[in-house]
């Protein structure tokens, strides 16, 4: 059974020039126990999807979807407090910038203890409950690989290093024993050892606790080793999604291919001194979105038909939306 099922999620933002679709018909399905990677350039709307899922968007933005369900419950029609309950119990988010997403005036200990849900506490009196909260917090802090729990709980967010902070955020995400962890670019700006520690931690959490992880990143290298399933995003449109292995072996969309080519470690026979490949141009701003397929102006295979938004097509478990996919050449 799928945990999160999103179909045609559209988000419109009111700019001076009128309503702009920041997300255009996004499809995303996350199954139980799966690591799902959401990949795209910066500015492609990855973080906005995360915020739309947890409902942390400003009120003046318009969100519509054909379907947005959490284990069969419709997230869009439920009341704010019901939705909050779902999120509180089942979904946890790890944010890009761990330091900014912690309250600067409270110690880390206070902040993690605040999140311990009441149903995990057995005792009745508040002092016993406080001790229990403390115990749960310490346990989790140890689990994410922070040894000195005392120092960690006593310090303020600005006093500890970024990667420790991110580990702590993972501990905070695990407090409510969620079904799904959404990791929004958790390794941004970290050096390699810290990065691999965080990634290992996430995949271990996935294996040991049967947690699903939605891993949002632009770092293909990091994702490819751990993710089972991948969705590629370009400029607020889902470009292609499918099993990680399949996508790596045979990408159907020119954008996915370009993304894979841009990471040198994926190319097997890369001769020395050959130029690194990348798509020309940059991702368009929200004010100047092209019509039809948004990759159009940058796409090496674009033709006349590309001014119409391509429909989603499917080859087995592999979805793509392109008028001229790569595998047609080979026919």
């Amino acid at each position: 059974m799928s945990l999160l099922d999103i179909k045609n999620l559209t988000l419109e933002i009111d700019l001076a020039s009128g309503w702009v679709k920041a997300l255009d018909k996004i499809n995303l399905v996350i199954n139980e126990g799966q690591i799902h990677a959401l990949v795209g350039e910066s500015g492609s709307g990855k973080s906005i999807i995360v915020k739309a899922i947890v409902g942390a968007l400003p009120d003046r933005w318009r969100v519509t979807a054909d379907r947005m369900t959490w284990r069969g419950q419709d997230l869009l029609t439920m009341s704010a407090s019901e939705r909050r309950k779902v999120i509180r119990n089942d979904i946890s988010v790890i944010f890009q910038n761990p330091k900014n997403s912690l309250d600067p005036l409270l110690t880390l200990g206070e902040q993690i203890k605040e999140l311990v849900p009441t149903y995990r506490l057995e005792s009745f009196w508040f002092w016993q409950r406080a001790a229990e909260r403390e115990k749960i917090a310490i346990e989790l802090i140890h689990k994410v690989g922070i040894k000195d729990h005392k120092l960690c709980m006593q310090s303020y967010p600005h006093q500890i290093a970024n990667d420790v902070c991110q580990k702590f955020m993972i501990a905070m995400a695990l407090v409510s024993e969620p079904k799904l962890i959404i990791a929004d670019d958790p390794t941004r700006g970290m050096e390699v050892t810290a990065k691999s520690q965080i990634l290992k931690l996430l995949s271990r959490v996935n294996q040991v606790r049967k947690l699903s992880v939605l891993f949002v990143s632009h770092d293909l290298l990091a994702i490819s080793s751990m993710a089972h399933y991948m969705t590629v995003l370009y400029c607020g449109q889902t470009v292609e999604s499918g099993k990680m292995l399949q996508l790596r072996k045979r990408a159907l969309h020119p954008y996915t291919q370009a993304l894979l080519d841009s990471a040198p470690s994926f190319r097997k026979e890369l001769p020395p001194k050959s130029p690194l490949s990348s798509l020309d141009g940059t991702i368009p701003t929200l004010q100047h979105l092209p019509i039809g397929c948004r990759l159009g102006p940058r796409c090496p295979r674009a033709r006349k038909e590309c001014v119409v938004v391509p429909a989603v097509r499917r080859v087995h478990e592999h979805y793509y939306s392109c008028h001229y996919p790569l595998h047609w050449d080979k026919k």
Partner: protein, 343 residues
């Protein structure tokens, strides 16, 4: 912590020294002879002038004079007023508490009104409530204080007759002076009709307090609103929302503290404006405070009084702002420990 306190104390001492030096210089900067400015004796005979000059060490070096001036200040010997002939120290001890009392009540009142309203406006950002409060604050912000005070007198004293026109207490009552703060004095006194006196004092207080507080309230409202909007849009509040905390939990556990932290020093700074406004309002309501007294002194060219009065008021302001700053510095964890923890 001790280091911080020491640093602040150092700063306070230096600032006060500079202030006292300015007040010392004033005797030379007023028009006329320094000796005449200090003593008020314009046409004395030779001997008298010489004796007075020796008293003020006028034939000595400039710095030596300043040194003697400081010594006199610390002795509590602040000179005599030209107009009343009374020692200035006792005059200031009589008038300053009245001003402090008025300003304190006005500050407390404006915080009690301004902070909650600012929070409401900030939380209802871009909604009708926000716009209504904002336009109200623009109104309060742009009304001149003296004009508002006059309007209040016109409306509530002369037309409606609800409140007394001037002074601190009706002439019928006589309260023994202990602290100089009228409400405290009434509480401490053992007069028979205590509650009647208290009500009378409060009725005298209402109009001046309101007319001073109006301006400060609007400023506090605007500062608070700005800060609340910024705080509620910050990443950690959104993150707390995404963690599934209720809006009330977020506001009370994370919002209020973080929104208040940056604005407390700004509010403390408002005390200066408040005191200035209080001085003007004191004149209008004949409040026996330092502002009224200083302005009388200026009218009467009472140079020693101007000199010492200015020093007293500025010392008060400096001490108040510095102590609030120190308090915030000690409370704020973002500033308290700079060293990083290695885990």
């Amino acid at each position: 912590m001790l280091k911080v306190i020491l640093r602040f104390a150092n700063l306070v001492v230096l600032t006060l020294l500079v202030l006292s030096f300015f007040s010392f210089l004033l005797a030379y900067m007023f028009p006329g002879e320094p000796l005449a400015n200090l003593t008020g004796v314009v046409r004395g005979n030779e001997q008298q002038l010489e004796a007075l000059g020796q008293l003020y060490h006028l034939d000595n070096n400039f710095l030596v004079q300043y040194w003697y001036y400081l010594a006199e200040l610390f002795d509590g010997n602040w000179g005599l007023s030209f107009s009343s002939g009374l020692p200035l120290a006792s005059e200031i001890a009589r008038t300053l508490p009245a001003s402090i009392e008025l300003s304190t009540y006005a500050l407390i009142l404006s915080m009690f009104i301004g902070l909650p309203l600012g929070f409401i406006a900030g939380l209802r950002h871009r909604k009708t409530t926000d716009y209504a409060l904002l336009s109200l604050s623009v109104l309060g912000y742009s009304i001149p204080v003296f004009w508002l005070a006059m309007l209040m007198i016109l409306g509530f004293c002369l037309q409606l007759g609800w409140f007394p026109l001037s002074g601190r207490l009706s002439l019928l009552y006589e309260v023994p002076r202990i602290s100089g703060f009228i409400l405290l004095d009434i509480m401490w006194s053992d007069l028979e009709n205590k509650s009647a006196i208290l009500i009378d004092a409060l009725r005298h207080l209402i109009l001046p307090t309101l007319s001073i507080a109006a301006f400060t309230t609007t400023i506090i409202l605007r500062i608070t609103r700005r800060s609340v909007i910024e705080t509620m849009n910050s990443d950690y509040i959104l993150a707390a929302l995404a963690r599934g905390l209720t809006p009330w939990q977020i506001l009370f556990r994370h919002g209020i503290k973080n929104a208040l932290m940056p604005i407390l020093p700004l509010i403390a700074l408002q005390f200066t404006t408040l005191l200035t406004n209080a001085m003007i309002v004191e004149v209008i309501f004949s409040w026996p405070g330092i502002g009224n007294w200083l302005i009388q002194a200026i009218y009467q060219r009472d140079y020693p009084a101007i000199r010492v009065g200015m020093l007293a008021v500025s010392t008060l302001v400096v001490l108040f702002t510095m102590s609030i700053d120190l308090l915030i510095r000690l409370v704020d964890p973002k500033k308290s420990k700079v060293e990083r923890v290695a885990i």
